[in-house]
Symmetry: C2
Subunit: 325 residues, 2 copies
Amino acid sequence: MKFSDLGEKEIVRRIDGILNAMDLNVGDDAAVLEIDDEFLVASTDIFYEETHKLPGMTYEQIAKYVVASNFSDIAAMGAKPVALLVAFGCKDMEISDFENLITSIAIECKRYDAKFIGGDTKYSGNLVIVGTAIGKTKKPVFRSGANVNDIVAVTGTLGDAGLGVRLLMENLIDSDSCKESEVIRKALEPLARVNEAQIIGRFATSMTDISDSLAFSLYDIAEKSGVGFEIYPERFPISKNAIELAREFKFNISEFALYTGGDYELLFTIQEDNFNEVKDEINATEIGRVIKKGIFSVKNGKREIIKKRGYEHFKTKNKKGFIFI
Amino acid sequence: MKFSDLGEKEIVRRIDGILNAMDLNVGDDAAVLEIDDEFLVASTDIFYEETHKLPGMTYEQIAKYVVASNFSDIAAMGAKPVALLVAFGCKDMEISDFENLITSIAIECKRYDAKFIGGDTKYSGNLVIVGTAIGKTKKPVFRSGANVNDIVAVTGTLGDAGLGVRLLMENLIDSDSCKESEVIRKALEPLARVNEAQIIGRFATSMTDISDSLAFSLYDIAEKSGVGFEIYPERFPISKNAIELAREFKFNISEFALYTGGDYELLFTIQEDNFNEVKDEINATEIGRVIKKGIFSVKNGKREIIKKRGYEHFKTKNKKGFIFI
């Protein structure tokens, strides 16, 4: 049996099985190590040119993507990024492009007040960039702590990146429109919610990022916490730009919000009174409630099961592996 | 100008230049972060199937190689490995092979009393395995502390791995001979000198591993410490098996000891009285002295410049990038 028969989520489930049997499982955005009275948080993330590079993506944008995707996993644990190591598997590329990439990664790390502490460079047939982020926190937030009646909330807006990727891949919009379009910017130049995570982390009962899709992340927290969700798509925070573009190209933006990956927003559960405190400090929106069982969307009083669907490597059929709604 | 015009060492020199300019340079086996009253040490290393996989290498052996090469960098800082993250860029491989790989990596981590704390799995055209090791120490040992008149010493024996790689790649010996041949075992199943590093680390003035070649490592320490070396090849610790095989196939084993990579031994400098204490506890051999300037071998009273030569990606002409003596 091969990878393509299973898909990424089932492969990860199998790895989980092996690590569980060896009492080694992480099962969260990042691994946690206790060192003295602090927790060290570490996570690794692959950027593979062939599958991750979007049309028109520059080396500066690749750097932004690599740093954001790695630090988002650290943020999702309620931790502060401290350092990033990057291993480059390089094709025989232009040195000036590589220097641009390195410099941009270092600049992006500074944006998050973290250090780019080098890595490894080797030959590879295609450009592969593997970042490993290290962070620290006094109190890690896991996927496993959600309680029935908690509020379900997200940072920022939903569906932008997924819509942006779709528009770029179908050549419906140009990558140069990054400056005017929030949707294209979020697809090509994602930012990790590092500052927000510090504030949310003080109160959240569970947290994860939604880089593979909101739906996948809901299923993850539900499974790890032993709870269910009732989600209200009408409350989804959608950017003005996403609403306009979805209308123009006749896409259902709620479906993008639920099922496409690439939004480096945080999904968290939190007690109602704590949520009000958090909301005063950051942009976060209540999108549902924790219930006992099942993962439903509720719209016009109608309950529907949310599908376990999102960005999944190995399984999705089109070349880039992106889910098309 | 492309990567192949420069070679790995020159590329690394350029990266160093960029990071130096941004005050971010590591310039050592691993990066060091001060956390509370301890030092966290982190390093990342790429295994790329196309260039690193030796003929006959099994998934268990790939796992051994990945763990050893990563923990060797931690050991070279005088630190103790704590955890390993691994990112897998996978082709569409057999699930059973992948499960074997994961399990073997977890077992190897346990050998070094460290934890395999998961990672990332994505599609890639060829198998790419990027390990990131985290370790800790109260006192990191850098490449920059060597003093004139210090003893230069190495752990274990030299040249085995380089000779083993050569014999395997030219089909002069079979990978199954791993059990009987120290030389083949060190090529296919390297071990990191983690325990030795703890003992050496208490006294060493500088340390690095010699995975890219003893010659490269001498140049590294010389440059970082502002010193030179006088090396006595007649004192090189060579295994009985290496002597026999080199004789049989008419190879100059001293040249392998100096210029081939793959030996995960430690090179260190140390004061003479401290060296005697270290030598009581571990297998280490004096191979030279720190001098003011220049990197020489001295044989039969004749001084020759040691070439800056070793395993170097991008530049070496044969497919696998290995240096052939």
